[in-house]
C-alpha cells in the first residue's frame, strides 16, 4: 500500500447531505471515520454556525468530535470574500484581519494548514509569511479553475512560495485538469435547462473533436444549448488537460483537492484524467494529504455522495498502489 499520500475527506464533499439536514456535522465526521479517512478538511464558512467568529465553545466541541472519530484536522479552508460590500472590494486591512483570525482559529483547533484564495493578492500573501512562521500555520492558496499556473498573478504567487521556506504554498484543485463533461452536467443540461439530448451529444462530440467555441456557437442551437457550449469551454477548456502544469505547482504543494463530480462503477474518471495525474504526483515525491472532493452536489441532489466517495477512494488506491 502506498502511504506516502494519505487520503483525507473535505467535509464539503457531503454538502448535499449537510445542507438538507440529512447529516449533522457529527454525522459528517462519523461518515469520514467509517469510510476510513484519517483526516478532514473543514470549510469554515459552511459549517461553523457563528462564522466568521467561531466561539471557543464550538471549537472545543469540534475538537472533541475529531478525537472521538480519530480524525486529524488537516486543512482549515478560509475564504477571501472580496465582494462582500456592494460598492467596493475588501480593503487590505479587512483581508489581513480575516486571514489572521482564520489562522488563529485553525491553530486553536489543531490544524497545521489554512487554505486561502487568490484574492489575498501577492503583496498580502507575502506579508503573511512571518505570521505563518510565528503561529506555526502554513498558508496555501487554492489554485482552482479557471486559474492555472500560467495566469500572471499565479506566476507571482509561485515565486513568493519558492522564497518562503515552506510556509507559503499552493493547494491545486483538480478542476484545473477537467477536460470533458461528467454525466451530471449532461443530465442537468437536458433536465434542468431544456437542452435537446441529441444536441447535447452533438456539442460534446464537437468539443471532444477539437471544434472551437465560435464554430460551435454558430450552429443551429437554442439559447440554453448555446449557454451549455459556453459552460463547456469555460469548465473543460479545449478538452485537453495540461498535465505539464503539475511540475510547476508540485514543488510548493501542501495539500491537494482531488476534485471530482461523478464516477461510474468502473472507477475511471473520464472528466479529470486521474490515471495520468496521480502517477505524476507520486513520482514527484509529494508527501501529505490528498482530499476526496466530491462536487456532484452542485448538479444533482439524487446522487449518493458516500457511494461516489467510495469509488473515488478505490480508484485512487488502485492508481497509487501501481505506480
Amino acid at each position: 500500500m502506498n502511504r506516502q499520500i494519505e487520503l483525507s475527506l473535505t467535509l464539503y464533499a457531503l454538502s448535499g447531505e449537510y445542507t438538507t439536514g440529512k447529516y449533522s456535522l457529527e454525522d459528517c465526521l462519523r461518515a469520514a471515520h467509517e469510510m476510513g479517512y484519517k483526516g478532514i478538511e473543514l470549510v469554515a464558512c459552511q459549517m461553523i454556525p457563528e462564522y466568521p467568529y467561531p466561539s471557543k465553545k464550538w471549537m472545543d466541541e469540534f475538537v472533541a468530535m475529531l478525537k472521538k472519530y480519530e480524525l486529524e484536522p488537516v486543512c482549515y479552508s478560509a475564504y477571501i470574500d472580496m465582494g462582500t460590500h456592494p460598492d467596493r472590494d475588501l480593503t487590505r486591512e479587512e483581508i489581513i484581519e480575516s486571514t489572521l483570525m482564520d489562522m488563529t482559529y485553525a491553530k486553536y483547533m489543531g490544524f497545521h494548514l489554512v487554505r486561502t484564495q487568490h484574492a489575498i493578492s501577492p503583496q498580502i500573501f507575502r506579508e503573511m509569511r512571518p505570521y505563518a512562521e510565528k503561529i506555526g500555520i502554513r498558508l496555501a492558496i487554492e489554485m482552482h479553475a479557471p486559474h492555472n499556473p500560467e495566469v500572471p498573478v499565479w506566476k507571482e504567487f509561485l515565486e513568493i512560495m519558492k522564497d518562503s521556506d515552506g510556509w507559503l504554498g499552493v493547494v491545486p484543485d483538480f478542476s484545473i485538469f477537467a477536460e470533458s463533461p461528467h454525466r451530471l452536467h449532461l443530465i442537468q443540461a437536458v433536465e434542468d435547462f431544456g437542452c435537446r439530448p441529441e444536441k447535447v451529444d452533438e456539442i460534446v462530440a464537437g468539443h471532444r473533436a477539437g471544434t472551437d467555441e465560435e464554430t460551435l456557437l454558430a450552429g443551429d442551437y437554442t439559447e440554453a444549448e448555446r449557454k451549455f457550449i459556453r459552460d463547456l469551454f469555460h469548465d473543460y477548456g479545449d478538452g485537453h488537460a495540461h498535465l505539464e502544469w503539475l511540475d510547476l505547482v508540485l514543488p510548493y504543494t501542501f495539500y491537494i483537492h482531488g476534485k471530482f463530480w461523478y464516477l461510474e462503477e468502473d472507477g475511471i474518471d473520464r472528466t479529470i484524467p486521474c490515471d495520468r495525474i496521480l502517477p505524476i504526483i507520486r513520482k514527484s515525491g509529494f508527501t501529505g494529504y490528498m482530499a476526496s472532493e466530491y462536487e456532484g452536489h452542485h448538479f444533482s441532489d439524487t446522487i449518493d455522495a458516500r457511494e461516489q466517495l467510495g469509488r473515488w477512494v478505490r480508484m485512487s488506491n488502485r492508481i497509487l498502489d501501481h505506480c
Binding site: 466568521p52 470574500d81 472580496m82 465582494g83 462582500t84 460590500h85 456592494p86 487568490h118 452536489h297 448538479f299
Partner: protein
C-alpha cells in the same frame, strides 16, 4: 451557470409550512421560512434582489420583514448588512403582512427568487451573480404570536 444549480431547492423551506402571526386577537400576517441557496452561507449584503410570490402574486417589499440572527431587517437594508452572516443551516423567518393571515389548512404556492453575488468568485475580474428561484406548495398549519 451549471455550478450551484442544485442548491436552489433550499430557498423555500418546506418543513415549517406557513404559520399565521397573531397579535392579541388580530392576525397581522403569516410567516414562511427560507434558507440560503448554496453549499455555504453568505453575507446579506451579497443579496442584490429578493422577491416573494404567494399564489402568483408578488409581495410588495414594504410588506415583508426578514428575521435572522435574532434581528429583523427590511429587504431594502440588505445592501448595508455586510456583518450579518446567513449561516448555511439557518432558516430565516419572513413575516409577510396580511390582515387576517391565510386560512388555516389552505395550501399556497410560495415562490422566492434571489439575485445574489458570490463574493469570492472574481477570478477574472467579474463576480458571479446567480439567479436562484424555488417554488413549493406550503400548507397553513398553526399560528405564533412571537418569532
Amino acid at each position: 451557470m451549471a455550478q450551484f444549480q442544485s442548491y436552489n431547492k433550499l430557498l423555500v423551506s418546506g418543513q415549517e409550512g406557513i404559520v399565521n402571526y397573531k397579535t392579541g386577537d388580530f392576525v397581522l400576517g403569516f410567516v414562511i421560512h427560507c434558507q440560503y441557496p448554496s453549499y455555504r452561507g453568505s453575507y446579506l449584503s451579497c443579496i442584490q434582489e429578493f422577491k416573494v410570490f404567494v399564489d402568483g402574486e408578488e409581495i410588495p417589499e414594504e410588506r415583508m420583514y426578514f428575521h435572522l440572527n435574532g434581528k429583523q431587517f427590511l429587504i431594502g437594508e440588505f445592501k448595508d448588512l455586510y456583518k450579518e452572516y446567513w449561516f448555511t443551516l439557518d432558516k430565516a423567518k419572513l413575516l409577510v403582512l396580511k390582515d387576517g393571515g391565510l386560512e388555516e389548512g389552505s395550501t399556497h404556492a410560495v415562490k422566492m427568487t434571489m439575485k445574489h453575488l458570490i463574493p469570492y468568485t472574481g477570478y477574472n475580474g467579474d463576480y458571479l451573480v446567480l439567479d436562484s428561484a424555488d417554488e413549493k406548495e406550503l400548507t397553513v398549519a398553526g399560528e405564533v404570536n412571537a418569532l
